[in-house]
C-alpha cells in the first residue's frame, strides 16, 4: 500500500516536471505584450486628461481613469477652452463624424454627418480642435476630387462650435496624393497644421505650417528634411512642441521651439525627448508641462507620459503616467484645467 502511494507520488512529480518544462519554455517568450483597460495612473497629474483606447474615451482625474464612452470608434477628444465640453471623433469603417460631448461623455450633438451608402461617398473628419474663444472647431476633412475618385487628401476645415449653426470653411489646399493636411491647431487668429510633400527623389516629408486666413498661401515653419509633425501650441502661443524624425523611421525627437506668430517664424529647437518613438504632444493648461504618448519599451503599445518644461533648468526627466495600456497614439491627450 505504502509502495503504491510512493509510486503514485513519483508519477505525479514526473507529470508536474513535464508541465513545468512546458511552462518554463513558454515563460521565455519575448514577442507579445499584454495590455488592459485604463483604471488608475502611476502618478497623479493636475487637472483632467482625456485619452482614447480601443475606440473608447477615458477621463483621467485624480489618478483614476473613468471610461466616458462605449467602445464604439471614439477617438481624438479635444477640450473646450472652459474645460466643460469635449469635441471628439466617432469613426466607423467608412466614415468619421464630429460629436460634441459633455465632460462625462454624454452626447450633446452630432456636428457632422459624413456617412453615405456607397463607401467612396463617405467622408472622414479627424483632429477636431476648439479655437481659443471656443466659438469655432477646426478639423481635417476629405473633400472629394471630382476628377479622380482615387484621390483622398485631407484639408483643414472649420465650422461653428454651436450645433445649431452651419457653414464650413475650407482653410487649406493640400499637396495632391500625399494624404493631405492634418493636426490643425488654431491659435490667436492663425492656424498651425502639418502638411506632407513628396520630393524629387520620391521621399515623403512632413512640415509644420502656419496660415493666417482661409485660402492664404501660408508659410512652412520647419524644413522638409526635419520631417516635423503633430505640432501643439502653448496656451500663450509663444512656444510650439512637435515631433521631428529627420528621415528616420525608428527614432524621433520631441522638441520645443519659441514661436513668433508676427514674423511667422520659430526659434532653435530644444529636445525634450530623444530616441525611440514619440507621438501627439499636448501642453498642460498652464503651459509648463507636456503630455505625450510613447511606448514604455521598444515595439510596445503607447503609454501616457509627461515632462516638465523649465526655462531655467531645461526639461526634467519624463514621467511615465500609465503602464500596460494601449493608448491610441493618433489621439493627442486633451489636457484641461477642471
Amino acid at each position: 500500500m505504502k509502495q503504491a502511494a510512493v509510486s503514485a507520488a513519483v508519477v505525479l512529480a514526473m507529470i508536474a516536471f513535464g508541465v513545468g518544462a512546458y511552462n518554463t519554455v513558454g515563460s521565455l517568450r519575448g514577442g507579445t505584450t499584454a495590455f488592459q483597460r485604463p483604471t488608475s495612473s502611476l502618478v497623479a497629474v493636475p487637472g483632467t486628461i482625456y485619452v482614447a483606447q480601443g475606440g473608447a474615451l477615458y477621463r483621467l482625474r485624480d489618478g483614476s481613469f473613468k471610461q466616458i464612452t462605449p467602445d464604439d470608434g471614439w477617438t481624438q477628444p479635444a477640450g473646450s477652452p472652459d474645460g466643460k465640453q469635449v469635441v471628439a471623433v466617432k469613426q466607423t469603417v467608412n466614415s468619421g463624424d464630429l460629436f460634441l460631448l459633455e465632460g462625462d461623455g454624454r452626447v450633446v450633438a452630432q456636428l457632422t454627418h459624413n456617412d453615405a451608402r456607397r463607401a467612396e461617398r463617405n467622408h472622414w473628419a479627424f483632429y477636431p480642435r476648439f479655437s481659443a474663444d471656443g466659438a469655432t472647431i477646426f478639423y481635417s476633412y476629405d473633400p472629394k476630387d471630382p476628377f479622380n475618385s482615387y484621390r483622398v487628401d485631407l484639408a483643414i476645415f472649420s465650422r461653428p462650435a454651436d450645433p445649431a449653426s452651419h457653414g464650413e470653411t475650407d482653410w487649406t489646399l493640400p499637396n495632391q496624393y500625399t494624404g493631405g493636411d492634418t493636426n490643425p491647431m488654431p491659435t490667436k487668429g492663425a492656424l498651425v497644421f502639418t502638411r506632407f510633400s513628396i520630393d524629387e527623389h520620391s521621399v515623403m516629408h512632413s512640415q509644420v505650417w502656419l496660415q493666417g486666413r482661409p485660402g492664404s498661401p501660408g508659410v512652412a515653419l520647419t524644413a522638409a528634411a526635419d520631417d516635423c509633425a503633430q505640432a501643439a501650441v502653448s496656451p500663450d502661443a509663444k512656444r510650439l512642441a512637435m515631433v521631428c524624425r529627420h528621415g528616420e523611421l525608428r527614432s524621433m525627437r520631441l522638441v520645443v521651439v519659441p514661436l513668433d506668430l508676427v514674423s511667422a517664424s520659430i526659434g532653435p529647437p530644444a529636445a525634450v525627448v530623444s530616441g525611440g518613438l514619440v507621438a501627439s504632444p499636448a501642453f498642460s493648461p498652464d503651459g509648463q508641462t507636456l503630455a505625450y504618448l510613447a511606448p514604455a519599451s521598444p515595439g510596445g503599445p503607447f503609454q501616457l507620459w509627461t515632462v516638465t518644461l523649465s526655462p531655467a533648468t531645461g526639461p526634467a526627466s519624463p514621467r511615465q503616467v500609465t503602464q500596460n495600456l494601449s493608448l491610441d497614439s493618433s489621439s493627442p491627450p486633451a489636457w484641461v484645467a477642471s
Binding site: V93, F126, Y150, G179, S206, R250, G300, F302, S330
Partner: protein, 311 residues
C-alpha cells in the same frame, strides 16, 4: 549488496522518467512548429545542394499574396516580393523590394509580370524568375498569405511603425473575413508613430490608391513592417505560439536551424546595419504593354546596385 543492486535500477528509472516527462513537455510546447513544418512546401529545383553555414551570408525571397476567396487556392500572384540578404557575422541585412509589375522573362513562360511567376510555378518558379533576371542566388523562400500576416501581427501583440503620411484609400479590398471578396471599404491610417494590430498593419502595407508613389510607396511600407516585426524581440520560445496562428497561411523552405539563426540575427541588427532598396525611377519606368500597366527594368542600373550586396 542486494539492496544496492535494486537501488541503482530504480534511480535510473526515476531519472529516465523525469527526462521523458520533460521531453514530453517540450514536445507538446513545440508541437505547432512541427505541424507547420509538415504543411510547408519543401522547395525544389533552384535551391543549391549545400546550404551556407551558420555564419555565412544567405539570401531569402519573401513572398506575399492576396489569397482571398477571389482566387483559386495555390494559384496566387505574388503581390509582394522582397529579396533579403542576411550576413550574420557582419550583422548586416539588405532588403530589395521587387516591383510586382516588373516586366521580365519568366523561365518557360515567355515575358510577363514577375508577380505571375508564383502563380505559374509556385515558389520554385518565383525564385527562378528572380535568380535569372537579377542574376542572384536565393537560398530560401518564405510565403505568407493575408490572414497569416494578420495573425502574425496579432500574435506579436501588434507592432510599432512610423506612418510617414496619411494612408488614405477609398477602394481598399474588403476581402478578409468576409462573404463578399469583391467588396471594398475605406481606409485611413493616420500619420505618426502608431501601434498597429494585424488588420491595420495589413491595411498599411496593402493600400496603394491614395499615394502618388503607388506601388513603390507600398513597397517601402512593407519593408518598414519587416523592421517593426524584427523589433518585436522574438526568440525560439515564441515559435510555437506563432506557428499555431498560421494554419496554412505560411510556406517556407527554411529549416528550424535557420529560423533560430534569423531570430538571433534580428536581435543583433541595429538600424545602421540595415539597408533598404526600392526600385523606383530611374531604376524602373512605368509604361503600358498589351493594355497592362507594367514596370520596365533598367538592368544597366539595377544589376550594379543588386550585385553590391547579392551574389
Amino acid at each position: 549488496m542486494e539492496g544496492r543492486k535494486l537501488y541503482l535500477p530504480r534511480a535510473s528509472v526515476l531519472v529516465a522518467g523525469f527526462v521523458i516527462a520533460g521531453l514530453l513537455g517540450l514536445t507538446a510546447y513545440f508541437f505547432p512548429i512541427f505541424q507547420v513544418a509538415a504543411t510547408s512546401a519543401v522547395s525544389s529545383g533552384s535551391l543549391p545542394d549545400a546550404l551556407p553555414g551558420p555564419t555565412q551570408p544567405f539570401t531569402v525571397l519573401l513572398l506575399g499574396s492576396d489569397d482571398d476567396a477571389k482566387f483559386v487556392p495555390d494559384r496566387f500572384n505574388s503581390q509582394s516580393m522582397i529579396l533579403v540578404r542576411l550576413d550574420p557575422s557582419a550583422k548586416r541585412a539588405t532588403m530589395l523590394s521587387i516591383p510586382r509589375d516588373l516586366w521580365v522573362p519568366i523561365p518557360g513562360h515567355g515575358t510577363g509580370k514577375i508577380s505571375t511567376a508564383f502563380q505559374l510555378g509556385g515558389p520554385a518558379l518565383a525564385m527562378k524568375a528572380v535568380e535569372t533576371n537579377f542574376r542572384v542566388r536565393i537560398d530560401d523562400y518564405v510565403w505568407i498569405g493575408l490572414k497569416g500576416l494578420v495573425n502574425l501581427i496579432d500574435r506579436l501583440g501588434g507592432v510599432d511603425v512610423v506612418v510617414t503620411n496619411p494612408v488614405m484609400d477609398d477602394f481598399y479590398p474588403a476581402d478578409v473575413n468576409t462573404n463578399d471578396p469583391y467588396g471594398y471599404n475605406r481606409v485611413a491610417v493616420l500619420p505618426g508613430a502608431v501601434h498597429l494590430d494585424g488588420i491595420h498593419a495589413l491595411q498599411y502595407v496593402r493600400s496603394r490608391h491614395g499615394d502618388l508613389r503607388g506601388d513603390f510607396a507600398r513597397s517601402e511600407r512593407q519593408q518598414q513592417l519587416l523592421l517593426a516585426i524584427k523589433d518585436a524581440h522574438l526568440n525560439a520560445a515564441d515559435l510555437p505560439f506563432l506557428a499555431s496562428a498560421f494554419s496554412g497561411e505560411i510556406k517556407t523552405s527554411i529549416g528550424l536551424d535557420r529560423v533560430r539563426q534569423l531570430l538571433a540575427l534580428a536581435g543583433e541588427l541595429g538600424g545602421s546595419g540595415i539597408t533598404r532598396e526600392v526600385l523606383m525611377p530611374p531604376y524602373t519606368s512605368e509604361t503600358t504593354i498589351g493594355g497592362q500597366d507594367v514596370v520596365l527594368p533598367s538592368w544597366r542600373l539595377i544589376l550594379p546596385l543588386v550585385h553590391k550586396t547579392f551574389p
